[in-house]
């Protein structure tokens, strides 16, 4: 199924008798959900881009690349820095903006600027009963009624198929610099990242690669803005971390390559095993990582995000232990463990209740999240 309009999509869902697998660019093999494939790619195109109002509205099937090019032409960007999962998941195809929103995909800058969901201003979607729903709008501040935009972000197509999304976009900075600290252990790196994020220097990336592009561990701290300001803050942070002899990378291409390695978890590419994505309290990260016994690790968000490569079938949640506060997602897994962290009973009941209301026939990616 490949609807070209929202109306057509609504009809298809109303007429559907069995499960549907919602697919944007299909840059991932759609988990364990079965059913007929419903592609969003024919509902494509930028509907509105107002650079002076920092807003962009696009149909959900629009390729991410098209959106990034349009923004680039105006010196703007999606500040939440969506990752490209193709290398990690071994998929090809063109990621769509709907897939990014449905998965709430956010990269290193999430720690400073916010997640994909924080930049979503409005959505239109068709729910599992074929009802067309609009929520939010295209203005920066909107508290008119409930925030179903947040509900749709990260709902993985289980509540509705998004047809149009409005985003807040931001100007690209004039300059970027990355402090590179070599040779630290996670136990040493996380406090450094924490200190950087707790400084007044507006750090927009704080990551630790136990295995950097050249093999050795690298700890990265990014700052962005106007040239003089970046130079100033780079200098102040260098003083702060003088004991670790930081090198300041100001070359745009080399800096971008480092952050792409973090964002796309490049050190895992081509390696066998299961990929887990763990959101935690940053200072817990070194201890949690030790407990995971992973074959490879990447720390982002100052330690608040751990990517772990585990042997096939290993249960990260089991290894994290009962006291773990946060959540672990099996992003690339071979076993039959739940993809998403099971929720405590009363919360799971609310999620199930919402699913029953928005998708009463259980058509949309059934079983993917629950």
């Amino acid at each position: 199924m490949r609807p070209e309009t929202e109306t057509e999509l609504a009809e298809m869902i109303r007429d559907a008798s069995g499960p549907l697998r919602v697919r944007g660019g299909g840059t991932r093999a759609v988990g364990r959900s079965a059913g007929e494939v419903l592609e969003t790619g024919a509902m494509s195109g930028i509907v509105l881009h107002e650079p002076g109002a920092l807003t962009l509205v696009a149909k959900a099937g629009t390729p991410l690349a098209e959106i990034e090019a349009a923004l680039e032409a105006e010196g703007q960007r999606l500040a939440f820095e969506p990752m490209d999962h193709r290398g990690l998941l071994g998929t090809d195809g063109a990621p769509t903006i709907g897939g990014v929103a449905a998965a709430n995909v956010s990269g290193p800058r999430r720690v400073q600027a916010g997640a994909c969901r924080d930049f979503m201003l409005g959505v239109r979607f068709v729910d599992g009963a074929g009802r067309v729903v609009s929520n939010g709008g295209r203005v920066m501040k909107n508290v008119t009624g409930y925030d179903l935009v947040k509900l749709m972000a990260g709902s993985w197509g289980t509540l509705g198929v998004m047809t149009e999304i409005a985003f807040k976009v931001l100007p690209k900075p004039a300059a970027t610099a990355t402090l590179v600290l070599a040779g630290l252990s996670p136990e040493e790196a996380v406090p450094v990242l924490s200190q950087a994020l707790g400084s007044p220097f507006d750090v927009s990336g704080a990551a630790h690669l136990p295995e950097g592009p050249k093999g050795g561990p690298l700890t990265l701290v990014r700052i962005e803005g106007f040239a003089d300001s970046v130079a100033y803050r780079g200098g102040r942070l260098s003083e702060l971390f003088a004991r670790h002899q930081p090198v300041v990378e100001t070359d745009a291409a080399r800096g971008a390559a480092l952050w792409k390695a973090v964002r796309d978890v490049e050190s895992f590419h081509g390696k066998p095993g299961d990929v887990w994505r763990i959101s935690c309290t940053p200072s817990d990260a070194p201890a949690l990582a030790a407990r995971l016994g992973a074959e490879a690790l990447v720390f982002d968000w100052g330690g608040g995000l751990i990517w772990a490569l585990l042997p096939e079938g290993a249960d990260a949640r089991d290894r994290l232990g009962a006291g773990f506060r946060g959540h672990a997602t099996a992003v690339r897994a071979s076993g039959d463990l739940p993809t998403f962290q099971p929720e405590p009973a009363p919360v799971a009941a609310l999620s199930a209740g919402l699913r029953a209301r928005f998708d009463p026939k259980g058509l949309l990616n059934p079983g993917l999240m629950a």
Binding site: T55, K141, V143, G145, L148, T281, E343, L354
Partner: protein
């Protein structure tokens, strides 16, 4: 403003209900004396008042749970209340409702600078959250003008914003987790010290749900390190249009000021008379604030003034020191007080695309002339959040109705140009009946479906947000 008929069955059982509440709360935490319940008869939308059945002031999540369990069993509507500064009537009681105030729950539970969060009970005021972390040079970013009084509870319920949210976002962007009690007394935790949910974003759904999904008792909030410094510049123009264009150009140029505030002539005149801040005689005034080190501030202000000069400002005043900065903000910060001196006023909160600013301001002044009430505009221009203040005399019969009619026209205009009814104050009762202007029946149905899941009996703050006719069937089932 119509409110539903109070439930006679509840009214007749008042004594029993109060007695049951007294069993689970200390004596002084249940207020049923008629003179004392008057303290809870309204919020900052003072035109509407109604004393509740009684008010309760629990001191812990457990007590909140005990209260809700009883109200659930008795079928009594509950209206959660923080500090009662809502401008939308969000905390307005009905005669058959229990006001559940969280004012006694104001403790700081945990402060963690390493992980940059604070956990508080939600009765704590917004400003005192920053107060609790200030000594380490941290702050909590959302800063509603009411921050001295308003509680985190109300901020979460309304997803409140402030002057500095252009850079730091509104409440939802700074809220990491909550402890919340559902109407049946169940206590749940959403989020925590980590980022983003593992399942559906229920936290995002709860923020801005106006006390209709649960009672939020504790919150984990993101705190940030204070910038090294901040400085405003004042730019005066001879027309609203040009000021609007200047805002748009500043944003396009890649400067992201922390605040861009806009005042029009009626507002400037009133503030000047009240606060004597020394504002220039002009049609429109911008206050743009930037942050950083001295050098960074100079760099950004240099760029902003360069852009402003291209638009022929009547005056451009850069603060040279803290004193001058204070004076630039003085007028703006006293805007509401200044209006209050002149007259009664109603503060609207519609949001528009920044590009529509000149057109909307022009239309507002036409409407104001047609209806015969003065409107002063002061607002967060960077994000298009308007605050038209309609001046009226509440003692003159018919003026409130005239004022509400003008307000409705202005809000419809905001929706027409691609904006929304409310950017930060919430719907409450004030904009309830206008919801159908912005949302189609299916849109409202989807939102109400969420309430059905969290509060199947429609007992929590039931007469708000949705037009009464639209929510009637659901509330009727609840009353049975």
């Amino acid at each position: 403003m119509q409110m539903p008929e109070p439930d006679a069955r509840v009214l007749s059982r008042k004594a029993e209900i109060v007695a049951r509440l007294r069993e689970v709360l200390p004596a002084d935490a249940v207020i049923d004396d008629e003179a004392e319940t008057r303290a809870y008869e309204c919020d900052a939308l003072t035109a509407y008042r109604c004393p509740p059945l009684c008010a309760v002031l629990p001191a812990s999540t457990e007590e909140v749970s005990a209260v809700l369990t009883i109200c659930h069993e008795e079928g009594v509507p509950v209206v959660p209340r923080g500090s009662g500064t809502s401008l939308a009537g969000g905390a307005l009681p009905t005669a058959d409702s229990v006001i559940l105030g969280v004012a006694r729950m104001n403790e700081v539970l945990e402060t963690d600078y390493e992980n940059r969060f604070i956990r508080v009970q939600t009765g704590r005021t917004n400003l005192s959250v920053t107060g609790a972390v200030e000594e380490e040079d941290f702050f909590y970013a959302p800063d509603p003008s009411s921050q001295l009084a308003c509680a985190i509870a109300g901020n979460i319920a309304m997803n409140s914003g402030g002057a500095h949210c252009l850079k730091y976002g509104v409440t939802t962007n700074n809220l990491l987790g909550v402890t919340m009690v559902l109407m049946d007394g169940t206590v749940i935790e959403l989020g925590g010290a980590h980022l983003d949910p593992g399942g559906l974003d229920l936290l995002g759904l709860v923020c801005g749900s106006e006390g209709q999904l649960g009672v939020v008792t504790e919150a984990t909030l993101r705190i940030l390190r204070k910038p090294e410094g901040a400085r405003p510049v004042l730019i005066a123009f001879n027309s609203n249009e040009v000021a609007g264009e200047c805002v748009s150009d500043i944003i396009k140029a890649g400067v992201l000021p922390v605040a861009i505030e806009f005042m029009d002539r009626p507002c400037i005149v009133a503030c000047e008379a009240f606060a004597k801040a020394g504002y220039p005689d002009c049609e429109a005034l911008l206050i743009v604030e930037v942050e950083g080190s001295e050098a960074e501030i100079a760099e950004q202000l240099g760029l902003i003034t360069q852009i402003a000069r291209r638009h022929d400002p009547v005056e451009l005043r850069e603060a040279q020191d803290a004193d001058e900065a204070g004076r630039i903000w003085l007028g703006r910060k006293s805007a509401f007080g200044a209006m209050g001196q002149i007259n009664d006023y109603m503060c609207l909160d519609g949001t528009i695309p920044v590009s529509a600013l000149p057109q909307v301001l022009r239309r507002i002044s036409e409407l104001s002339r047609e209806i015969g009430l003065e409107v002063a505009n002061v607002f967060h221009a960077g994000d298009g959040n308007m605050h038209p203040l309609i001046l009226f005399n509440a003692n003159q019969p018919g003026e409130l109705e005239k004022c509400e009619a003008l307000g409705a026209e202005i809000l419809k205009l905001c929706v027409e140009v691609g904006g929304c009814l409310t950017g930060e104050h919430g719907v409450g009762i004030e904009k309830r009946d206008l919801m159908s202007v912005q949302y189609a029946p299916a849109d409202l149905e989807a939102q109400m479906a969420v309430k059905d899941v969290f509060d199947p009996g429609w007992l929590l703050n039931p007469a708000k947000v949705f037009p009464l006719a639209v929510s009637e069937a659901r509330r009727a089932v609840a009353a049975e």
